[in-house]
Symmetry: C2
Subunit: 268 residues, 2 copies
């Protein structure tokens, strides 16, 4: 059954999208079948995989608003083993119109459970469409704690919280841990979380201090792997490729690969 990971943080610009696309590339290199889902109206994940959000036909909007199946709007990317559910401007009104539906928080969870979880076994023996088997599903969230991110948290096995080692980002961890408690009590008791320190500049005293404070406060809740500042990540975004497939020997590609290994060990 796919292991579902939400990548979220209310703080903007902490490398949520960069982490989804890079981690997905690294997981594929470890023979994992991966589906990434772009839940952000900005559609940066769609862009980071070389697609033009203005030209996609089916998207996550259809799943959230028109009961489309995830498989019907997913498509291949340039990377074998990596599929994408894109986003587009239709998501602009999601925060406003999603909450009017009954059990709106569970729409994504039901779409995931209904489709992908069953695709493994074939109980009835009936002729089923050739189902795709994913090992991991990664959800890229917008920088907010609204209805869309709530859907992702209700659907996830694990929440990864990318965090820049800076003051505003560290402060956002307070909100994130409160939200996790609420999601656990209402929708998803099994939700686990891990903090990922990103864009780390070891020459910067503030970065070293804040990273130490985060580890002191959260202990096991922080990945061992730290992602350093690496301008090659900016370049790979322009190329429409994960860093692992654009500059595979770069420092950040190797760091996201270490993260993938740490994650696979954690999941097993």
């Amino acid at each position: 059954r796919p292991y579902v990971i939400a990548v979220a943080n209310q703080k903007g610009g902490v490398a949520k999208t960069t982490s989804v696309v890079s981690l997905a590339g690294a997981l594929v290199n470890h023979e994992q079948e991966v589906l990434v889902v772009d839940l952000d109206a900005q559609a940066n994940l769609t862009l980071a995989l070389g697609k033009d959000p203005g030209r996609v036909r089916g998207s996550i909007t259809d799943v959230l608003f028109n009961s489309a199946t995830l498989l019907s709007v997913s498509r291949e990317t340039n990377i074998p083993g990596l599929d994408l559910v894109p986003s587009n401007a239709g998501m602009d009104v999601a925060e406003r119109f999603l909450p009017v539906r009954q059990d709106y928080e569970l729409i994504l969870r039901r779409a995931l459970l209904g489709e992908l979880r069953q695709s493994g076994a074939n109980p009835g023996g009936a002729l089923r469409p050739p189902t795709i088997h994913y090992d991991f599903v990664l959800l890229d969230c917008p920088p907010s704690m609204g209805a869309v991110t709530l859907n992702a948290l209700a659907a996830a096995d694990l929440l990864i919280i990318p965090t820049q080692p800076e003051y505003f980002s560290a402060f956002a961890l307070r909100t994130m841990t409160q939200t996790i408690r609420q999601v656990r009590s209402r929708y998803n008791p099994e939700l686990a979380y891990r903090i990922l320190i990103t864009m780390f500049d070891r020459r910067n005293r503030i970065h070293r201090d804040v990273a130490d404070q985060i580890r002191a406060a959260f202990g096991e809740g922080v990945f061992e792997t730290v992602i350093a500042v690496d301008t090659k990540l900016r370049e790979s975004a322009v190329e429409g490729l994960p860093i692992t497939h654009h500059k595979s020997q770069s420092r950040s590609a190797l760091q996201y690969d270490t993260l993938a290994q740490e994650l696979i060990a954690y999941v097993q």
Copy 2:
């Protein structure tokens, strides 16, 4: 009458909050009376001016939801001439509940026009409370294009769009210009805009290329002043002071000061 500036960009982490607090500090140094308004549930502007969002009594939530006046929830900061309307966790539900009100897009504009604009003249001669006269009002927006940011755009004379010279940020300019067109046709025909290049690292080829592309595409619509990467800005956030009052001779303090001069010349 106060000149109202919204600082907004759907892209997260582009120095919206840092620009509001730094520009406000620079304007105060030019004998301008300034009110800054925190419209973000993250409450980073409130934090950046040394206040704990968890302990504020009145906030922008009261203005948007309970018809409180801006002046009733504004307060002094450590900086003479700089007042703050803080934010708090109450703003978490704003995107969901604001749109149910009639003319929700104009709530902030009416609060600004109703109070601050009249505070100059005193037509009826009646005994009015000692009004405060602001030269500038700066609105710090969350990283989204929802109901809260719409309120700010409907109320503003000028929209400043902080932009990192990177791929995802540059892509966000497409959405921003579409939104400006909509706001002009429906709520605020006079809305002007200026792009501010932030966090610029001149050693980085991508930064130089993207900055050139933005200037080529937007010409006059881009401030001359560019804000470079400067770790002292991170330090001033921790201190709860604008960079102009924490490290007044730093490169970024001087750059935000140049920006303030460019802005004052533009307004006159």
